[in-house]
């Protein structure tokens, strides 16, 4: 789907639920914010959770993450978004998971 309002290509690549995993250990040479992100993302974490735990606005976090992505200090996995034709097997997996709640 073309959204039209996403003219900033770096930011638009990161969704609230893009999953981020660190590829490096934080070290003293990093900026505090970068080190904090690397520490948080030793296990997978969404961009929204990073924003919440760091108490930083979403746009600030996406900007920090873009820098970390560019230097390959983190890896990101884009979310599964709604397709023009929804994917039945995905929806079935969601329902299966909800039934266990």
């Amino acid at each position: 789907m073309i959204t039209g309002d996403l003219d900033d290509s770096e930011r638009s690549a990161l969704d609230l639920v893009t999953m981020v995993v660190a590829q490096a250990e934080p070290s003293p040479t990093f900026q505090p914010e970068q080190a904090a992100i690397l520490r948080l993302c030793q296990a997978p974490l969404s961009v929204a959770e990073i924003s919440a735990y760091l108490s930083l606005p979403f746009s600030v976090v996406t900007s920090l993450l873009s820098d970390l992505l560019a230097t390959e200090l983190i890896e990101s996995r884009a979310p599964i978004v709604r397709a023009t034709l929804p994917d039945r097997s995905l929806l079935e997996a969601v329902m299966h998971g909800l039934q266990k709640l």
Partner: protein, 204 residues
């Protein structure tokens, strides 16, 4: 919880850390007016304590929500609460509770565009808030179901009467719920998923 140094950063509790296999995320947006129970619903089904992501809106003189003051400033912080459900070792569902005003929707990239669908949570005492939300979702082609949060002091209307009042197409599911209850909120999400499933075309 101001950002100070890396030593003071909080993070997920150890039991909230996702497995390394958790790489596929999907999202659902719960949208409704102020006080309708969005955060309550997020909290009742979330496996983590609901978290808050913020964004700064730089327009002048904009109230944050229906009950906000009208003070004029250059930057307003808008908050959105969200929760998480691990559906399997790989698949994670995130739920975002967002205000009904469309001007907030642009603060977070692709909030609705990337969502599987939306839940419009309504309070029968303030139906007028829902008209605009429903219209906007229809315009954007976001599939949604309508959940009527049952407040003890709210008048109870039959679902079909509400459907007419909201001018809602017959195919859009409506369901009564109690957002405080996990099972009830789960049923709302199941209703949305079944609806999305019915919209899906089987693979040729």
């Amino acid at each position: 919880m101001d950002f100070r140094s890396s030593d003071t950063i909080t993070g997920p509790r150890s039991e909230d850390v996702l497995p390394t296999t958790a790489t596929a995320a999907v999202k659902v947006v719960i949208v409704g007016g102020f006080g309708v129970g969005k955060t309550t619903m997020v909290g009742s089904v979330s496996e983590i304590r609901p978290l808050t992501t913020e964004e700064t809106m730089t327009q002048a003189g904009v109230g944050v929500d229906d009950n906000a003051g009208v003070e004029t400033k250059t930057a307003t912080t808008v908050a959105m609460d969200f929760g998480r459900i691990s559906l399997s070792e790989e698949l994670i569902l995130y739920l975002f509770g967002t205000p009904g005003q469309e001007r907030f929707w642009f603060l977070w990239n692709g909030l609705f565009e990337g969502a599987l669908g939306a839940v419009v949570l309504i309070d029968t005492r303030r139906l007028e808030v829902s008209f605009d939300v429903i219209g906007r979702l229809e315009e954007r082609g976001v599939p949604f179901v309508v959940a009527v949060n049952t407040f003890p002091d709210a008048p109870h209307h039959p679902v079909e009467a509400l459907r007419r009042a909201l001018d809602l197409p017959d195919e859009v599911p409506m369901i009564d719920c109690d957002a405080r209850l996990r099972a009830s909120s789960r049923d709302v999400l199941m209703t949305l998923m079944r609806y999305l499933h019915s919209l899906a075309v089987p693979l040729a």
